[in-house]
Structure formats: structure tokens, C-alpha cells
Symmetry: D2
Subunit: 462 residues, 4 copies
């Protein structure tokens, strides 16, 4: 019983099964470096508050640094019977420096330690994720430049709709993920607030300087209310949400990669190095990374859901339920960082089969909207122009002709306003060049998007 | 067939059942005022682009304003056979002003209209929600001031932990919801970007000025890529997420209201006007509003989940699946705005039963941490001090004594360092006053929190 | 105050806003016919228990029947101030028959009424859903028969894999939905247990015969514990789960419809009556019903999620949170029943473009597995045979030849075991006919599947 | 390249990062024993189909048995570069027995192997879970017997409602979990269908006997359609759903344990061995297991959600996304099995503090419903009786009297029908004994529930 740091009040030993059931060190040990870091600064704060002597503080810090070395070298042995990362390190410090180790816990609670460690850990990981997003944004721009000028059929309802520059379509993803980048920046403002000094929830009983402590640990400021500091998990939920958005938008992108890789579409080809084969069908070359990323979108979303269920109706302040907050966050972070990295390779490796794409430009009735717009300029109200064009398409389809194969007489039989210049309008380049407005698919417009995007990337300090 | 605005190309009538199955006007009609507003500005933009004459533009705008009036007076009849709000209004405009009405749709697509309308609608609703949050923040501060000085048992694991000012506990909610307020502000930056001019996804075929259009509608800028503009629903997901956070934190607060209202706790009393009774048990007075809010947290969370499932793996650009995006957003918004309002009434109406709360302060062993801290100051390392105190508590419990009822000899039998001043430490006020550090439960510290909070509220322009 | 059925103990009026916030009659009024039905049987049970006289019972039943008529004729006016369906009907009965109406509530609580009504409502709806599923199963069989013999490229990873009978692929959906049918049957066992007689949760204070009551209402038996009866919502969760499975499997089917309808695939064509067009692009013919069903999968899944969050950590017995259980169930039920019906139309209306499908059979390397199997029969271990075939495919692809276009010498350069009969193996019919084992794509095997399926349908009593 | 089993067709090596990103052996290795088991039976089936000679079959089986031994002894080394459990074992078999190993894969695909292994694995785990549930049901009955006769205040809205036998309240959980037991039985019917012989999806190209194979592996029958067999993951979703129900109902039970353990309630006490303490507050004794179980409900629910998102809109047949199906299932299964086990310990260890519970019976107005029922028997319609009783309670509360402390004159001032026998009705035992109907809280009724429950348990063959 005396083994447990809280054993004094207990007259029976903890059930062995409960010990296993409740341990967290198997997953929270990744927080060890942050536990050390926060403990070193906490020791300094206690010294300044007069709780530790100069000498005691030095012994503690040296002990912690030794542990840090053992951990980074993989020599530290975490033990389940010490429950969690905090108690493992407290115990190891005691074994290394004796009784003085026990002074480090003065006025400090695991309730605040765990959220301090977690926030420090996340500050690092979010920074890594932002670098990954930057790489993805960059790869997107480069691919948009590589294939600048290629016209593809744009889709709505997965049906051919209007011609569009491939680069324009691709840049949609740039702006999607740029927004996610900004969401992470907004999130960081709230992440970088320090709970340390909140103790169990009432605030530390010794006069430590929380502003200095926060600063020393790289936070922007201390959290303004100690009950709030140990109770909230909104800083985990917000991260999981941004991860979910990132993964969901990757799932959309990957869906396009999968569909475009099909034999029927054959819009794109992936390098062999990014495909895998079948154990039974020798001819198979599958777009596995795209499928896996698409599948992994379930992780972030499901884990966000987990954490929302977890906090629902929990009274303040700390409840042991909250121990379940870490695995879903760790897992989703790892999967998202890796998925973004995988996507960079996919974007870089993908090749357009431009001859196939171009074939489709003239195959359907992609330019029907142009005909309607043409009629508008001839004075026909749009809805009527739309209706007339619909009839033209129906006629052309029945006669197995493409629009540009219709004679001028045939056109005129639907609307006498149509003249020879209609054939100019039936070139896809004409449709593109009519859309030079801001954000449109016009050649110059897309060029500008790309340039603005580059400036954004160049302006990033990461 | 000619009835459908897109009927020209079709040679069979739409299935009656499909018509019912696919209609959206039963729920998207709430967007009608925004559809009108956006249409008026779009007409002006078309005029500037040379597509409409001055006269045509005037006729259209007057027609739209007439419709606006009919809608606001509840006279407008929405019809299912016209599918959605856009087609209902287009049709009504035609019936009012004839063929010129059909010119309004030039270069415009429902794909962009629906997201423009939605964004305008949300800008209004988010503003309303922020006002609600402001009221809640205010009610929280006022209640914290009303009961300033009351000491209550703070909880961890729903067990008595340490004494804390009731106002301090309450202010935890202030800081929670203040963060949600900031999350809404961050969200608004992304919400206030205008999709109009994106057309179906390729950009408008006529040279309208998207910057001017965005400005005229109250947006901050146009969206920089037309495919992105019509494809993304991240602006709905982000809102649903913040609503989920708000509702989840309300569910925690309401859980406390419910528990504290129980006969056993009797910490608080709700006014009769905020309770309901039982149809069978005549004595019942139930905290229904708190339970309902707690229950309604499921709406925002579940609907966020709905929308995440909806967009998963959807290729760009528009797909009809997206029609399902509106009901979950409308419902969650309404429930959240109402729940916040209900919570304001609850916070205002709640009364502390201070005599019961005070009774509990001395009943348990809330001040055990103080004893440990006392021993620390006598030079005993914290972990040892903790252990000794645990044994004292165990002893006191067995002898059915409160800590302050132990004699000095009894104390000394556990640690000879304990002296008469220990009894001073066993007063709850002493524990409070030892925690004046930033964010702690000390009297002055909490006073400062309240003052900072007031300044924040006063600085808001809403 | 006296207006509220529970007003006796209250000295303040209910807040107007709480009244609006907490009303449920706007959605639970659909339960009215079941409320009447259960009330009639309850009156009889009270009479048998000696609480009501013969005469009182008759007056009550006649009153209830009058109300039933008003409701079915749409004449009954539900009022928000009476909170819910139960109080609306209690009140209306009082207005109709006076004080004796108040005797009906003897020993009865809304806690049991609402779950009794809900279960009766669901028994009806589940029966309707099962009929819908039967229609879908039937439509599937008929389509499988219509196109029996058509060989299509089977997919894994959306890549061409092996040839397969279209009917075999389609019958996969038959077995999926047959399982859902069985899940509903399993669910009905638990649904058909009657809560009535449980009162608020402790059981009725008057000796009514619950077995007889259950039977009279069409239940199989009474629920064996009154606390359980009013507390559990597992009977809603289980339904929402089966609805989710149905919708998710529909989403998979619809994804195939959408992909196969694309210009690139052109495997299928939908009739005009099941498509809609675009407001801007005159040529568009979109597979909207398939997209809408796919999108509506989010409703059942999200609403299941809602209800799971709702019940999490709710103590027994009734809590007001539970009022939020109905809207998600009603909505998901309606959407699922309609989606199944829509899918029946889709399956019936879809046409295979067999010439396109056949074209693809010979275009890729669908029969590579056959070559490997051929080599196996020549004594080469499968993994080696697989590797050799992989090299043959690579060679053929580089030389832009189909497998059957390779000369026997070319084949032999990879494996001398290959002989002239390899060309027989390179016919898709040969591949099909090699798979006559149970559940395989062989012609007879699929025929058997269809026959078994028909027998199942014919054996259903619905 | 030649290292990959599917490398023949590839001319570039797999990206190192893709190899890491896509490996599954780190988690699917738990399937190894089932992979061996299925492989042994598959070898026999191939022999019967004439593909393997007697001798080859024997060599393969012996090799597999050697591997099985290595795995069970923990000597087998799984390697990431071989992707998954299937390829690891295929490779190891080759290293052990040479080329003949490669014959085992004849006509077999990982698509079918993985679902066969998974189903076999789940058959074992579900059996284990059912044993756990049986233990929980048993512990519940025993506790209900231990405290038979104790009357507690029953709750609605966490407010005192009516007196109820503690055993009756507890037996609600018995019936909840009994239903979950039946849900698992229903699920097992669908789980025990064998996919083996489906090959990649078209069915095996060699005439193996699937019925015999299914039987040999312990399945009830083979799956009737090979495309369905490899595509569906409904057998995972259904399990996750039942796990979610189990965990959600445990969360409700644990919520009661937590609330009842609070100082304010003090209804129950947990043994020290099932509590843990605080690192800072020496007096704390927290109900951690109950909180952890409540928290772990998030795992099953969130993971169900994950899998639903995963399969949404996936076309048939196999897609690599499906690899993500295993971690959420494994995790939820482990947590649920452990949580049920932990709950058994909790139920067994919990002690009622009967003196506290009894104190509350007389403290509030628990018997108000009895007064109303009393008035009913005196001829007053229930709704009026309810109203009168409400006024009595209001009067008593104002005068700080308990109901039984009111004089007969005071009673009569509200209803002249009240006579001396009202005091008999104001005894809690009287209220209990009025509820002997089926499923009610009467002494005999609860006794009968317990007896029926015992019979159920005794009838189980597990």
C-alpha cells in the first residue's frame, strides 16, 4: 500500500485488475520529455517562491536531466504499477536523488501536469503538421504549373459539365488546405495558454509566478482560471476537428484520384512506386495510398466523436473519464501527419494522361452553356436560351452529332439568332477565356491564383 | 416538361415520387430573404457588366422587392414542384414581370446561389448567437458577484476535494464560453467570403466585378477560386463544431445544475417558473430546462457528424448529396441559440442554498491538502507529507472526528512538527487566502478575474 | 397555474420561454393514434382492476374514439401550452366528457405512455419498412434475371479485376439487404414488449393485468421490470442502427450508380424520369436520386450518433433529456423508407449499356488470373505462376497488345508450359464457367442464387 | 521488386514511406492463429479438389503447424515489409518448406482470407464476451438478493420520486444486459457464415467444396454470394453496435455509482481495493473504475462511428480503405470485455450504506403519489387528486413538516375524504406492497424477477 503515492489513507491494496484496467503509462509515456521540461521549470518556480532551496532545486534539475537522457536513449523503463507517466518519473527521480525528489510535487497535481504536458506536446506536433501542409500546398502549386493550359471536363454530379483548366480545378484544393492552415493558426492561440500553477483545480497553495512559468515553457500566457484549466478538453476537441476537416478534404481529393485512375477514366497515372498489386490477380496495379488516406479519414472523425461523447455531461473539475482523451488524439495526429505526407508524394507523382482528357473535351456536350450564353448576348433571356439549347442537345444526341458538327441551318432551326460565329464559341479555349474574372478558370485568372499562392507560401515562416 | 427550368433536354417527365423525394423548398425557404438580397446585387452587377440595361435592371429589382415584401408578410406561397427556394423565386419573378425575369439567371448557377444565401443567413445567425453568448457571460459575472465570498467544496471525481470560492468555480464557465466567443470570431473571417460569381464552378461567363459584389452584400472579399467556392462545406462544418463545443460545455454546466438540485445535494434551488412537475407524482419539481439543454447537446454533435459523413469522399464540385447539408445546420443553430437563452434564465434564476453548502465545508476532510502543505513548510518533502496526512485522515475517519477536532497530541503522534497553528490552517478561509496567485481561488484573485471579465464585456461591440 | 396538470405544488407560473423550449407536441403529435389506442386498453384494464366502473369506462372509451376520429380527419388542434401529445389528449378528453376523463390517468405516468406509444408506432413503421425491403429484393432479382448472361469487368480498388456476371455482382446487394431484413425481424422480438403498467417506474399502484394489456395492444409480452421499461431507449438505438446499415449499403449501391452513369464509364443509363437537369448547363442529366440517397445515409448514421450521445451517462429512470429521442428517429425512419422506395425505382429503371460493358471486357488484362491458374494446372506453384503472369502483362502492355493477341511463341518465352489451349482460357466465358462452386459467378451458380432468392421472397408473409 | 508477392508486373520499387504507411501487420498479426487454421483447412480442400497431392498437402499442413507453434510461443517474427499477416505467413511457410508453399495460394485471395480470419477471431471473442455478460448478470442477481428488502428513494430527473426496492432498481440492469446477451446471439447467426472460397470476389477457379470447408472451420454455412462475402463489413458494424449498447448502459450504471458515492449521497461505499487516491489531496478516495468505464463508452461508440464513415459510399468489392476496419474493432472489443469484467468487480464490491438510504425515505415527499392514489380510491378523479396532493405538499413544505406529521385536520382542510387510515398509506412498505403486479416493485414481484433471472442463468450453456 505504501507503494502508491496516495496510499496513506487506504487500508486495502488496489485490485490487480484495476491496476491494469486503469494504467495509462502504456500510452502517456510519449509525454515524458514534456513532463521533464515542465518539471524543470516548476522546480525553478518553487525555488523562487521559497519552497526549494537553491541547492535542492539544482539537485532536482540535474536528476531530471539525467532522466531525460535515459528517456531519449530509450533506457528508461516505464512500469505499469506506477500508473502514469507522472508517477513513473516522480518515482525514478526519487530512486536517483532520494527524498528531495518528493519536494518537487509541492502544490502540484497530476490534474494540471497532464494538460500542461499535453499542450506542450501538441504545440510541437501542430508545428510539424503545419510544415506538412506547407509541403502539400507547394506540391499543389507545382503540379498546377506543370500542367498549366490543359483543359479538362469539369464535373458536377460526376457528369461532364463545363470545360475548365486542370490547374484551376487543382487550385481548389490549394485554397481548401490554406484555410486549414489558418484554422491551425487560430487554434494555436488557444493552445498556447499554460495551465501550470492550477494545482488540483483551486490554484497552487504557494506563491509561484505563473506568468514567468508560462513564458519559460514557451506559452503565451497562463490560463486565467484554475478550475477551467484542469477541466476543459476543448483544446483537444478543436485540434481533432481541424484534423477531421483536413482528412475529409483529403478523402475528397483521393476519391478523385481513385476515380480518375480507373480504366474507364484513365485521366491520371500513378507511378509504380505508389501502387501495390494483388495477391491473386497478376495484372493489378492499385491506387492504394489514395484509398488508405480516404479510409483514414474515418480515424480523425471517429476520434473527434469519441472525445465529444467523453466530455458530454461531465461535471467540473477533473474526472477520471478524461484519461481516455489521449489515445484518440495521438492516433488521429499520427494518421493525419502521415496522410498529408503521403498526399504530397501522390500529388508529386501523379501524371496526367492528357491525350485521354482532351479526347473527352469534344466527346460530350460540355459547351452547351456557351451556346446558351451566346443566345443571351443575342438578346434572348437566359432561361429561354437554356431551354432552346437543351433542345439542341437533345437533337444532336439523337442524331449522334457533336454540337460543332451541326450545320448552321440546323442551329437556325432552333433559334434564328444563331450565326456563323457560333463555331468560334464551340471551341473550349473560347469558353476558358470568357472566364477571366477573379477566381474564374480564365488563363490569366488561374495564373494570378498561382502567383498569389506562391507569395503566400514564400511569406510563411516555418 | 417545359415546366422545369432545365426541361429542354428531357423527353420524359420527372417521376412524381422523385419530385417529392428531392424537393428542398420545405426547408430552404428560410433562405428566401437572402436569395432576394443576393439577386438584387447580382442584377446590379449584370447591369454594370452590360448584360442588363438600366431599365431591365430596375424592373427586376422592383419585382424582387415586391417579392421580398410578400415573403416578409407571409403571403408568398412556396411550391414543392419548383424544387427549391431559387426556382420558386425565379418563377414568381417571371409571373410578376415576365420574360425579363429570365435574364437574371444569366451566368448564374444554383450551385453558387445556395452557398451565397447560406453564408448570408449564417452571418446573421452567428451575430445573434454572439449576442446570446454575451448575455450568458454577463449573467455569469453577475451571479459570481452576487455570491462572492461563499465557500463551497470543490470537486474532483464528484468527491469533495478542496474548498473553493463558488464564484471561482462559476467563473470557469465564463472563460469556457469566452473562448467559444473567440472561436466564432475566427470562424466569421472564413464565413465572410463571397462565392457569387463562381457560377456552376468555372466562373461566370460575363465580366461581373466580384469584389464590388462581395462588398455590396456585406462580405469581406470574394472567394479566390470558383471550384472551391461551390464545392466546400467547411464553412458549415466549422459552425457545427463550435455549436457542438457550446452545447457540450452547456451539458457539463447543466449536469452540475441537475446534481446540485438533487435532494441529497441541495446546493441550489431553481425558481418554480423554471421547473416543471410530474403527471403522476404531485410533489415533483424537476430541473427540466437543465435536462433539456443537456439532451440537446446531442443535436449539434450528431448533426456535425451527419455533415462530416455527408462530405466524406465526395468528388468536386457540386453533387446533389449536398442538399442534405441544410436541415442539420438549421436545427443545431436554432437549438443552440435557444439553449444559450435558456441557460441565461437558469443562471439568473438559480439560488444558492448557502447554509447547506457551508455545512459540507466542515463535514469531510476538505482541508487535508492544507495539512500536507503545512508539513511541507515544516520541512517535510511533499510526498511524505501527503502520506502522513493520509494516515491522519484514516485515523480521524475511524474515530469519527473532523480534522479540527483532533487534539494537538493526536496530530503530534503522526508528525512531531505539527504545532498549535495547525488549527489556523484548518479554517477554510485560510485555504482560500493562500491561493492568491493568478487564476487561483483567492479572494483578490477572483475579484480580479471578475473585473477583467467585465472589461471584456464592456469592450464588445455587438 | 392550475392549468398545468401538475400545477398544484407550484407557486409561480412557468416561464413563457421555457414553455416553448420544452414543448414536444409539435413532433410527438404523430403518436396521437397510438396514445388513443393505448388509452382505450388502459381504461379496460382499470375497469377490470375495479378502478373504473363499467359506465365510466364506456364514457371514456367513447370519448377517446371521438378524439380518434377528429385526429384522423385532421380536425384536432394540438396546443403547445399543453406540452405534449399526452396532455393534449387528456385535456381534450376532459373538455369532451368532463371529470371522468381525469380518472383515466389513475396509476399511469407519461413516462410509460410515451414509450408505449412509440413502440406501437414503430411496430407499424417497421412493418412498412419490411415491405419496402421486400420490394427492393424483388426488383433486384428481376434485374438480375433481365440481364442474365451479361459479363462485366468486376472491380477491386475500382480497377478492373476479373470478369463476372453482372447478375452475380447485383445479387451481392440481394444478400446484403436480406440480412437487413433478418436484422429487423430480430429487432421486432425486442420491440414487441409492452411497458404499460410500469407507471412512473415503480409499477402501477392498482392491480391491472399487464399480460392481458400487452396482448390486447398487439405486444408479445409485458416488460419484466418497470424501471427498465421507462428508462431504456435501446429499442430506438437498435432501430436506428439497422436503418444506418440499410442506408450505408444503399450509399454503396448509389455510388456505383453514380460512377457507372458517368460519361467515362457509361455502363448504365437512367430514364429521364429519374434524373434532373441543371439550372445553368442545358446538356446536363444528373443521377440525382442516387446522390440524394447517398447523401441521406448521413441522416440515419448521424441520428444514431445523436441518440447514443443522448443516453450516455444518464442515470435511471426517466430524465427529461429523453424527450430529444423522437425527432432523430422519426426523421431517419421517414428518410429510410423513402430511400428504399426510391431505390426500387432506380433498380427498376436502370438500363445496362451492354455494348460499352462488353467493350471493356477485352480491353484490359482481366483474364490475367486465368493465365496464372492455367500455369498452376501445368504444375507451377501459384505464387510463381502469378509472378510469370505479371511479367507477361507488363510485356503485353509495353507492346500495346491484349493477352489474346500474344503469339504462342511470346507466351512460351515466359513459360514453356504454355500451349495452344491458352487461347481458350482467354475467353471470358471460360473464366465464368470455371466458377460454378457455391456462391461463385458461374452461370449455373448464379441461376441457383436467383432461384433461392425467389423462394425466400415467396415464403415471406407480409 | 521480386520480393513482393505481386511484383511481376511492376517496374519500380514501392516507396519506402508507402510501405510503412500501408502495412497492417502491426495490428493484424493477432489474426495469425486463425490464418493458420483457415490455411490448413484450405489445403485440405485444395487436395480434395485435385489441386494438391496428398503429399504436398501433408507438407503444407506440417509446415503450418510448425508456424503455429512458433507463433504461440512468441518466436515468430512479423516483418513490416511483408505488409500483412497473410504475406508474413506465406513467406515464412516458403522459407520452411520451399516452393510447395506457393501452391497454397492457388485460387485464394487476401480479400477472402482477411474476412475469414476476422470472423473466426470474432467467434472466439464474442464467446468470451458472453461469458463476461453472464458473470455480470450473476453478480447483479446476487447483489439484488443480498440487499433484498431495502427501500430506497427511486429517482426521476435525479429527484426523489417514489420509494422502490433497491433490488428492483438493480434488476433493471439485469434485463438491460440480458437483452444485450440476446443481441449477441442474434449477431452470431450472421457472423458464423464462411467467406472462404470467394477468392478475390468472383469465386474460386477450382472446384473446392465450400460447405465442407465452412463446417470444418466451425461456421454454420458458406456465404451465398462471393462478391457480398468480400465486400461487406456489416458483421463488424453489428458487433460494434452491440458493444456500444453494452458500454452505454454501463455508462448509465457507472453514473449512478459515481453519484451515489458522493459525500452528499453516500448511498454506497466502494472497497479501497476498487478506488484510487489523489497525488495531491490526501483524503481522496475516488470511484475511478466507474469513471473509467463511463469514459470508455466513448471508445465503442466512436469506433462504430469510424467504421460507418469508412464504408459509406464505397463501391464493391474490395477497396484498400477496408484495411482500416480492424483497429477500431480490436480496441472496442478489448475495452468492452475488460469493462464488463471491471463492472463485475464493482457490483460485487459495492456496499449499501443502508442507514443513509433509509434516512432519505422519510425526508422528502416520496409518498405524495400514495396520497393521490388514496384520494382516487375515495372517488376523486386522479387529475384532481393529484392537484390536491400538490397543494398539500406545498403546505407541508412551507410549514417544514413531513407528510406523516400533518394532523388529520390539516389533511381534511384539503380534502374532507381523508381519514385516519391515510397514515397507514404514508408508510413506504405500504407503497411497495401495492405494486405486486408483474414487473412492479412489490416484494413478491421482485422475488419472482430474481427467480426467473436465476433460471435464465442456469439455462445458459457457456
Amino acid at each position: 500500500m505504501s507503494e502508491k503515492p496516495w496510499g496513506g489513507r487506504f487500508s486495502e491494496e488496489t485490485s490487480k485488475f484495476l491496476e491494469e484496467f486503469s494504467e495509462s503509462v502504456s500510452f502517456d509515456k510519449v509525454l515524458a520529455p514534456y513532463e521533464i521540461k515542465a518539471s524543470i521549470e516548476y522546480a525553478k518556480a518553487l525555488k523562487k517562491a521559497g519552497v526549494l532551496s537553491e541547492n535542492e532545486c539544482e539537485i532536482i534539475i540535474n536528476g531530471l536531466k539525467d532522466l531525460e537522457k535515459e528517456i531519449s536513449e530509450g533506457k528508461f523503463v516505464f512500469k505499469t504499477e506506477y500508473e502514469d507517466v507522472h508517477m513513473n518519473i516522480e518515482r525514478a527521480l526519487f530512486e536517483k536523488i532520494g527524498d528531495v525528489a518528493y519536494k518537487l510535487h509541492t502544490g502540484r497535481s497530476r490534474n494540471e501536469q497532464v494538460v500542461t504536458d499535453l499542450r506542450l506536446y501538441l504545440i510541437d506536433k501542430v508545428s510539424k503538421l503545419k510544415k506538412g501542409l506547407k509541403n502539400l500546398l507547394l506540391a499543389t502549386i507545382e503540379k498546377a504549373e506543370e500542367y498549366f493550359g490543359i483543359i479538362m471536363p469539369g464535373f458536377t454530379h460526376l457528369q461532364h459539365a463545363q470545360p475548365v483548366l486542370f490547374s484551376h480545378w487543382l487550385m481548389a484544393y490549394f485554397f481548401m488546405f490554406k484555410n486549414h492552415f489558418h484554422r491551425l493558426e487560430d487554434y494555436e492561440k488557444r493552445l498556447k495558454e499554460c495551465p501550470l500553477g492550477s494545482s488540483a483545480f483551486a490554484g497552487c497553495g504557494f506563491p509561484i509566478d505563473r506568468h514567468e512559468l508560462a513564458k519559460a515553457l514557451g506559452f503565451e500566457k497562463p490560463i486565467a482560471n484554475s478550475v477551467f484549466a484542469v477541466s476543459t478538453r476543448d483544446f483537444l476537441l478543436e485540434l481533432l476537428f481541424v484534423l477531421s476537416l483536413i482528412m475529409l478534404d483529403l478523402s475528397r481529393w483521393c476519391e478523385e484520384v481513385v476515380v480518375w485512375s480507373s480504366q474507364e477514366f484513365s485521366f491520371v497515372e500513378l507511378p509504380d512506386s505508389l501502387c501495390t498489386g494483388s495477391s491473386i490477380m497478376p495484372q493489378k496495379k492499385n491506387p492504394d495510398p489514395a484509398e488508405l488516406i480516404r479510409g483514414k479519414s474515418s480515424v480523425a472523425v471517429g476520434n473527434l466523436n469519441r472525445l465529444m461523447l467523453l466530455v458530454k455531461a461531465l461535471p467540473l473539475s477533473y474526472n477520471r473519464d478524461l484519461q481516455e482523451d489521449k489515445p484518440p488524439v495521438f492516433e488521429a495526429l499520427k494518421d493525419t501527419i502521415n496522410s498529408v505526407k503521403m498526399m504530397v508524394l501522390l500529388v508529386q507523382g501523379i501524371k496526367l494522361k492528357t491525350e485521354n482528357i482532351e479526347k473527352w473535351i469534344s466527346a460530350g456536350y460540355l459547351l452547351a452553356t456557351e451556346v446558351a450564353d451566346y443566345l443571351v448576348l443575342k438578346g434572348i433571356p437566359f432561361r429561354k436560351a437554356h431551354h432552346i439549347t437543351g433542345e439542341i442537345v437533345l437533337y444532336a444526341e439523337k442524331n449522334r452529332k457533336r454540337l460543332e458538327e451541326l450545320t448552321i441551318e440546323e442551329f437556325k432551326s432552333f433559334a434564328k439568332e444563331i450565326e456563323e460565329d457560333i463555331y468560334e464559341w464551340l471551341k473550349p479555349e473560347h469558353a476558358i477565356s470568357r472566364r477571366e474574372l477573379f477566381g474564374g478558370t480564365g488563363f490569366n485568372s488561374v495564373k494570378k491564383q498561382i502567383n498569389t499562392a506562391k507569395e503566400f507560401i514564400n511569406g510563411l515562416e516555418l
